[in-house]
């Protein structure tokens, strides 16, 4: 006997209006200009931090596609990030592939891995899916340490990755570009490509199908949406993009090791999505900024209590801005609108 009862379907995410998923052209241009100009005026270390910021933004965006668009929930993104990082590192160091070319491979490998993982995950939802992905994240560092792969992965020691130089053509043009600066602009270009791809993906038929599933799975399947296909596809795409971020991360940090990709990374990416605003792609930048900079700020405020300060900041954000940075953007938009009228 099974009891039929109405499941209180508190949505995983509050429904997000479709057009709200991207930014207007003017705002996009302003942000782009800032991203291009700022590194010209800051120290190398800060440029490196900005590179990491962009890389995490890509990873947060990837999770945002999974959660914001298809309504699935993952605490296991660090596993795909790790897979991407190792793919790039192994290709560069063992096979000698050019760093830029390793990224599509990392993306593809992770896309396939994500798609395959998405298949059994199909049967799970909500808490169960969270647990399954969580398990994946916990398992990944252990798998990377396995003796069988040690020749390729370097085992516990990990692999050192060579930092790429700026192309010589720039030097011959008389531009002196440091390695950090070059990597930053390279990352920025990849970020822009992925952002444009994602925005278009969400606008496409597939994107609309995913959102229909997010809003009401049963209704979507009644409308003829192939729920299994799009749910696994969302997993695949999200994992693929995360893999690219992982590859970039390996190149930027010049090092991969199992303990760099623990569950903490997965949690950080998850928080990035919440802080940035679920389902709002530009929020990924804000979410990533939270991940990269807030722990530093917390450390700065109180060394012994940095964890507590981090927690308190997070709580304040949740309480004041339950919809994350998106809410802030709306407030700003409203304010600008008002100012214009006057």
């Amino acid at each position: 006997m099974s009891t039929v009862q109405d499941v209180s379907t508190a949505p995983v995410v509050a429904a997000v209006p479709k057009k709200a998923m991207a930014l207007g052209p003017l705002a996009s241009l302003i942000i782009l200009a800032l991203l291009i100009v700022t590194p010209l005026f800051v120290k190398n270390f800060i440029i490196f931090q900005m590179t990491m910021w962009l890389i995490y933004a890509i990873a947060v965006l990837a999770l945002n596609i999974l959660t914001g668009a298809s309504g699935q929930f993952s605490l296991g993104q660090s596993a795909f990030y790790a897979l991407g990082a190792y793919t790039s590192a192994i290709l560069m160091e063992h096979v000698g592939v050019n760093y830029a070319l390793t990224l599509p491979v990392a993306g593809l490998v992770c896309f396939i891995a994500g798609f395959l993982f998405g298949l059994p995950a199909l049967r799970l939802s909500g808490i169960y899916l969270a647990l399954a992905t969580f398990a994946l994240a916990v398992a990944m560092p252990q798998l990377l340490k396995l003796g069988v792969f040690e020749h390729w992965t370097g085992g516990v020691q990990g692999l050192v990755v060579t930092k790429p130089d700026a192309p010589e053509i720039l030097a011959s043009l008389g531009l002196k570009v440091s390695q950090d600066m070059w990597l930053y602009f390279f990352t920025l270009a990849v970020t822009i490509l992925i952002y444009i791809f994602s925005v278009n993906l969400l606008k496409s038929r597939s994107g609309r199908a995913m959102m229909a599933i997010r809003d009401n799975e049963i209704a979507a399947s009644a409308m003829g949406v192939d729920v299994s296909l799009y749910k696994t596809l969302a997993f695949g795409v999200s994992a693929g993009i995360t893999g690219v971020a992982g590859g970039l991360g390996a190149i930027a940090v010049q090092f991969v090791a199992p303990d760099g990709y623990t569950i903490q990374l997965a949690i950080a990416l998850f928080l990035g999505v919440v802080v940035g605003g679920v389902g709002w792609l530009p929020g990924s930048l804000a979410g990533a900024a939270f991940i990269v900079f807030v722990p530093n700020i917390a450390e700065h405020i109180s060394k012994g209590l940095s964890g507590a300060v981090f927690g308190v900041i997070l709580i304040i954000i949740i309480f004041l801005l339950p919809n994350g940075a998106r809410q802030l953007a709306y407030l700003a938009q409203g304010l600008i609108g008002k100012l214009r009228k006057h």
Binding site: S8, V12, L124, A130, V138, A139, Q142, A308, G311, V312
Partner: protein
């Protein structure tokens, strides 16, 4: 064969830890439909309180009782201050809230009591239980306490008015309000009870894993796994799940070659996921048919 029996026994002994934690997990899940990621940290903090009380010279059972009260009240306070305002927020916001709570408790405990490991006494001693080298009196006591807790919870939910009201509020909040149940306080009560049960788990686990701020990390994952295997809605399921996970983990470590301590956890988790894929509501969970 003897190896097998021994490993099963040892598995039951560790399983008691997971069972205890899983009970606390199920309590909160029943009340609010969420897995509390900070549950382990709350238990760890309670255990430190007990330790501190004993350092101040209070005998074990006195410290035990005071810690129970402290945890119960603490659980209610956390719910009122932090999670009641979030009641209508999406699931993701909740999870973020749990993570924040995790970070805060862990960091405060670390600052107050530092990260060196501390001995925590067991009221049952640690001599071999009935002459067996596999189960110590402490582990036997732990299994006993878990079973007693289970019986008490059963009686509470089955035969008391408050227990009945809590069940009603958990299954159908709207109907519960219509018979005059203050569902919001039932949730707070659920938090209080979960925190108290968690504190018992912490105090029983601490003699085995030693007391330090990160002591619950691994245990909580197993506790989740146990609760999920048990179906998340049934205290009995949680306890059985706990023992199953414990036994399973031990057998995997013994019989599958090349599985060291490092890989036990991933393999246990992978198999639990397999169970879930085959039986999405756990072994003892209610089947719920979804409606649009």
């Amino acid at each position: 064969m003897e190896l097998f029996t021994n490993q099963v026994l040892a598995g039951i002994a560790t399983g008691a830890i997971y069972a205890c934690m899983a009970l606390a997990v199920v309590m909160i899940y029943q009340a609010i439909d969420h897995l509390n990621f900070a549950q382990g940290e709350m238990a760890m903090f309670s255990t430190f309180i007990a330790w501190q009380l004993m350092q101040w010279g209070i005998p074990y059972w006195g410290a035990f009782a005071l810690t129970l009260i402290f945890s119960f009240v603490g659980g209610i306070v956390i719910e009122r201050a932090l999670f009641k305002p979030l009641a209508k927020a999406p699931v993701l916001t909740h999870v973020a809230g749990f993570i924040a709570l995790f970070a805060i408790i862990n960091s405060v405990a670390g600052l107050t009591w530092d990260f060196t490991i501390k001995q925590f006494p067991s009221p049952f001693g640690s001599s071999p239980f009935l002459g067996s080298q596999l189960i110590s009196t402490h582990q036997a006591g732990m299994i006993g306490v878990t079973l007693i807790l289970l019986v008490l919870l059963f009686i509470f939910f089955r035969y008391t008015r408050v227990g009945l009201a809590m069940r009603a509020a958990a299954t159908l909040p709207e109907s519960a309000r219509l018979v005059g149940i203050n569902t919001s306080w039932m949730i707070a009560l659920g938090w209080g009870m979960a925190a108290a049960i968690g504190s018992i788990a912490g105090m029983l686990i601490a003699p085995v894993v030693f007391l330090e701020p990160n002591m619950m990390g691994g245990v909580l994952i197993y506790g989740f796994a146990a609760a999920v295997v048990g179906g998340l809605t049934s205290p009995l399921g949680a306890v059985i799940g706990g023992f199953l996970v414990g036994v399973f983990e031990n057998l995997v470590g013994t019989y599958i070659p090349g599985v060291g301590n490092e890989l036990k956890l991933p393999i246990a988790l992978a198999l639990i996921i397999t169970v879930l894929v085959v039986k999405p509501n756990g072994l003892f969970g209610r089947t719920i048919v979804k409606r649009v």
